[in-house]
Symmetry: C2
Subunit: 125 residues, 2 copies
């Protein structure tokens, strides 16, 4: 298993600019349809209580990595369901995975979260 498999999110990063610090805020100028579609995918990934808790669990973990087995045991859901949610987050570019032996570890992609946060910041003007 590769650490990062085809993040569909990168296309959006290219559209809005490679440097997250200079990209325009969402509300500074109207975004085009392509950017909106890509961005919506990321927000949609965060638009589920289970996935939000997954992100939170991963991010809050000391060391930044969490084994899937720990995530599965934290919910009252089946293992395939958790695996499905992790896949959604992965394809949104918000998390990435790495296999070490029998276990698969997930960690956040801070740049992705920061990019979203930057987009939402409303300029004082």
């Amino acid at each position: 298993m590769s650490i990062q498999r085809v993040p569909a999110d990168l296309a959006i990063i290219a559209v809005t600019g490679p440097d997250a610090c200079v990209q325009p805020a969402l509300v500074s100028e109207p975004i085009d349809e392509v950017s909106a579609a890509g961005l919506a995918q990321v927000f949609k990934a965060l638009g589920d209580p289970v996935r939000l808790r997954l992100v939170s669990l991963i991010g809050a973990r000391q060391g930044g990595e969490v084994c899937v087995c720990d995530l599965t045991s934290a919910f009252d859901l089946s293992q395939p369901t958790i695996s499905h949610h992790l896949k959604v987050l992965r394809e949104a570019g918000l998390i990435e995975s790495e296999r070490r032996g029998t276990w698969v570890y997930y960690r956040l992609v801070p740049a992705a979260l920061d990019r979203i946060a930057g987009l939402l910041s409303v300029p004082v003007g």
Copy 2:
């Protein structure tokens, strides 16, 4: 029509703390299920290309207010569909509306966007 009708979002603000500046980041500690459900509603509202463009159009408008008629004409969608999306954003607490004469004007709720942005910021630690 009232300017702000029952923002379901306020409950979440109460949960995560009234001051957006001191609320813990999403990834600093695991969030509880109630907070996750409320937060997910906001992200879900942003998880649609049309609604993202609506937020962008409203926020980018000089003066901060946009008439619904201008929003409707910006999309290749029916007026009821746009009205539906505006309702979703309104119930998420992201925008608010005001009727003046025949027209209804929408504007952003910057505090709501800033709160989301703050939650997504990943601490350097």
